[in-house]
Symmetry: C2
Subunit: 185 residues, 2 copies
């Protein structure tokens, strides 16, 4: 319960600006309970990240392992459907992990390390999918799939930034046109 | 002086987490001086953004208007050289406007509007350059330059995020390979 409330507050306001007091107040628990479950605010933040990472990892695996669809279709579905709740929610929040990365990469080395590892696993999953697409002849053999996987992942983070600012889904249409009609062909 | 100090603090810590007291203390000025120059913290933040936007706008114009180079070379130089001080500075900070966009887009409508306008001018400048490249035959005529300009700008923001997290320039090499050897050809 504290983790859910904390995750929501951190997503809305950032890590630094979310106070333990505020989490306790919303969760209606005394301070002692917080320190029973978490060593510190940092420990709490890392557990919030783990929770997100598991959710994203599971979603990614569900999409990417569906062998009834072509690899590129699976990739497109993942990149698009993962944004559905963001769109429904009026483009509030954006990518919780991307936000934390920008907020904390310079000041909290332990968060930077953890986020780097999570992003690298996501990129690895996309890389494997592009390799499959290449094997099946859906992607020219001369394309460097590692370069493309990294580029795609962070362009997608840029896309989320753009949707969060513009409060429209137009950038998603444009992303799909560039990525799936020009880049991955 | 207050603007420079405030800009640096906001870049390091974010808008919400930077206090007026802290700016006053570093600038060694009394509170009255702050409210002589700025109506509020919001007004101050907007002026910090204006300062950044002017700097970025001028740099962009300098690069993009150099007619001795081909349009795509100018674009590459801009996208790369703009990152030189970020790289020299050990990948600290990142894009001040992208950071503020993610931090404030949901909660401060006036900031969201201002940042949207600034990003749109940057995209317009890139769009004009891609149109030039197309006219000169450096880019196939069927490419949608508006789509590409938007996509490029936010992929570049994603690139900065990636460099800030990884603390290496490897993502820049990979960005250059994908954008200038696969996408803009």
């Amino acid at each position: 319960m504290m983790l859910e409330i904390g995750a929501r507050l951190i997503h809305q306001k950032g890590y630094n600006y979310t106070g333990i007091q505020e989490i306790l107040k919303e969760a209606k628990v005394p301070k002692g309970s917080f320190y029973f479950y978490f060593k510190s605010k940092e420990d709490f933040g890392l557990q919030v990240i783990d929770q997100y990472a598991n959710h994203i990892g599971n979603t990614l695996q569900n999409y990417l392992s569906d062998n009834t669809l072509s690899p590129l279709t699976r990739l497109k579905l993942f990149l698009n459907e993962f944004l559905a709740s963001f769109i429904e929610n009026d483009y509030q929040g954006g990518c919780p992990l991307g936000n934390l990365a920008l907020e904390l990469a310079d000041t909290h080395e332990i968060f930077r390390q953890k986020l780097t590892d999570i992003f690298e696993s996501a990129i690895k999953a996309i890389h494997a999918l592009l390799d499959q697409a290449q094997k099946q002849g859906d992607l020219p053999s001369e394309k460097d799939t590692k370069d493309l996987a990294q580029f795609l992942f962070f362009s997608w983070e840029g896309l989320i930034m753009q949707m969060k600012i513009s409060k429209t889904s137009q950038p998603l249409d444009q992303f799909n046109r560039v990525v799936f009609e020009q880049l991955l062909v």
